[in-house]
């Protein structure tokens, strides 16, 4: 993908090793899919670990989960879905050749992404820190958790590592979007050449999908109804 961006220096964005633009576009798209495959296994290793410990320590994971605010998780899900929509619309506007339109949609996507991170860090992580729920930073096991309390820190380990890794991907994504915005502003994209947009879109949607799974796995374990999971 970095390649695509750099090769763009040649006016139509064409790189010498390819036969034609069609081959180049297909290669770029397939390359991103293969990259997403590796991302999937990267998160997959983490999800597998999570699944094993969730099976072993379900009551502890339920206690941990109930300490998270569902409203923030759900709100953030909606924000991310919205950003996926604006991303798709950005590509759409480039496809139909609406001049200048990708810029607006890209900026909207970045703003929504930043909103997600803002909610995550200031409302959730900061709150957890104050409540002594960050392992390694003064985590306090509360007596009212009883026996399963011993493994609540493990849940929070997974929570911070998984959401942190996801947030890192978001930050990288916002960086890519910033580059795309500049390119779009300089009228680089045409209905014949919008590969960088398309490929970055795949990445952005993938990060969205990761969150679609993280939300129920972290926030909704064992149900939120009174006495759920106990």
């Amino acid at each position: 993908m970095a390649d695509m961006a750099v090769h763009n220096a040649h006016p139509p964005g064409f790189a010498h090793q390819f036969e034609d633009m069609e081959q180049q576009r297909e290669a770029g798209s397939l390359g991103m899919w293969v990259f997403l495959l590796t991302e999937m296994m990267f998160f997959g290793g983490l999800f597998a670990t999570y699944i094993v410990y969730r099976a072993l320590y379900l009551p502890s994971f339920e206690i941990g989960s109930h300490l998270l605010e569902v409203k923030f998780g759900a709100l953030n899900t909606a924000v991310l879905i919205g950003s996926s929509l604006t991303m798709a619309l950005a590509i759409h506007s480039a496809q139909i050749g609406k001049r200048g339109a990708p810029v607006g949609f890209l900026i909207a996507t970045m703003i929504l992404g930043a909103t997600f991170l803002f909610i995550k860090f200031t409302f959730e992580w900061r709150h957890d820190y104050i409540e002594h729920l960050v392992p390694g930073f003064g985590f306090v096991i509360r007596p009212e958790w009883g026996a399963p309390g011993a493994h609540v820190p493990m849940f929070f380990c997974f929570y911070f590592f998984m959401t942190g890794l996801h947030a890192l991907h978001m930050i990288i994504g916002i960086g890519i979007l910033a580059v795309l915005t500049v390119m779009a502003h300089r009228r680089r994209f045409t209905p014949d050449y919008y590969s960088p947009l398309e490929v970055s879109g795949l990445y952005w949607h993938f990060v969205d999908i990761i969150w679609i799974f993280l939300f129920p796995l972290l926030y909704l374990i064992g149900g939120r109804y009174p006495g759920g999971g106990h």
Binding site: G146, A147, P148, A150
Partner: protein
């Protein structure tokens, strides 16, 4: 085909007799493992030699005679391809069935085994007999008696390995693993740690002394008499104050431990659990995770107050309560 089998059996009998190619076989399972081993060796040699001699013949027979030689084209031969896919598959299936059934047979201990406890720590083997005798890096066992080892580690992963018995099992921190053997030959055998465990991994070894039952009895009773594991466990039990709640008649705040070992108990969560070594260890270290139905979750954890050895002694004590009860009922 018959020729192959014949040469195979001759090879097997020769191989089994050759002492320098074979470690001492001193347990009831060693012969079975060795038979499989030599069958595999035979298969390996058979295929290696077959492939090599074929290649050798081709290399000589079809060597390049002229620089511009163009050999004939040979099409793919489907029956041949299928044959050398299916035949190895059948051999593999046979080996799998043989090896797995043997493994399951070998890993199931006889019900009436003598139990000995093993604790691995960097870098020594700590062994305790139920009668109370303790050893370091030495294991004395009677010949002809099945012995089951219950093992745990105080630090990293170790591995208890007695080559002459063909037994090996990792020894893990925080968990019990077990292995069993029945020695068949009086003698002295190596005991190794076979899982890398740090600086002196290679020094974490010892000897297994297989003795006649009479010698073993003498050995057990020689030296300074020491209380049995169960007795030491009982002392620990009283010292830690366990006895104040776990009254034998069941009137205490905690459940009676008489005859509890080997029984299935229902937990507060509704789950049914067999009371075994792992259960008792969990009850000592993390009591609130195994609260029985009808009992309050008031027991404090003893993590940090008892070491792995004392836990094993407590287990031995609880087990002794169960067997006393059984004996009493028997009478």
């Amino acid at each position: 085909m018959i020729g192959v089998l014949q040469s195979g059996s001759v090879f097997l009998s020769l191989a089994i007799q050759a002492p320098q190619l074979r470690p001492e076989a001193a347990s009831s399972i060693a012969e079975g493992v060795d038979h499989l081993y030599f069958a595999l060796t035979f298969i390996t040699l058979f295929f290696t030699i077959a492939i090599f001699s074929t290649i050798f013949v081709f290399m000589v027979k079809y060597r390049r005679r002229a620089d511009d030689e163009v050999p004939p084209e040979i099409e793919q031969n489907l029956p041949l391809e299928l044959a050398w896919t299916i035949i190895p598959a059948l051999i593999c299936a046979g080996l799998f069935l043989w090896a797995s059934s043997l493994y399951f047979e070998n890993s199931r201990p006889p019900s009436a085994s003598t139990e000995i406890f093993v604790i691995g720590k960097q870098w020594m083997w700590h062994i305790q007999h139920p009668e109370g005798v303790r050893e370091i890096n030495e294991l004395h066992v009677p010949v002809g008696v099945p012995v089951e080892l219950t093992m745990t580690s105080e630090d990293v992963i170790h591995d208890f390995y007695i080559p002459a018995f063909r037994v090996k099992k990792d020894v893990l921190p925080g968990r019990y693993t077990s292995l069993w053997f029945q020695a068949t030959k009086v003698g002295t055998y190596h005991l190794f740690c076979a899982q890398y465990c740090g600086a002196d991994h290679a020094e974490m070894l010892g000897w297994v002394y297989v003795m006649s039952p009479a010698d073993y009895e003498t050995w057990l009773s020689s030296g300074t008499p020491s209380p049995s594991m169960a007795q030491t466990g009982e002392q620990t039990f009283n010292k830690l104050g366990c006895a104040s709640c776990h009254l034998p008649d069941g009137t205490g705040r905690g459940p009676s431990l008489v005859a509890v070992y080997g029984r299935e108990e229902e937990l507060k969560t509704g789950e049914k659990r067999l009371v075994d070594e792992a259960f008792i260890r969990q009850a000592v270290m993390n009591p609130n995770s195994v609260v029985l139905r009808n009992y309050p979750a008031i027991m404090p954890t003893f993590r940090g107050q008892v070491n792995e050895e004392q836990v094993l002694q407590l287990i031995a004590y609880v087990k002794s309560l169960a067997s006393e009860e059984r004996n009493a009922n028997g009478k």
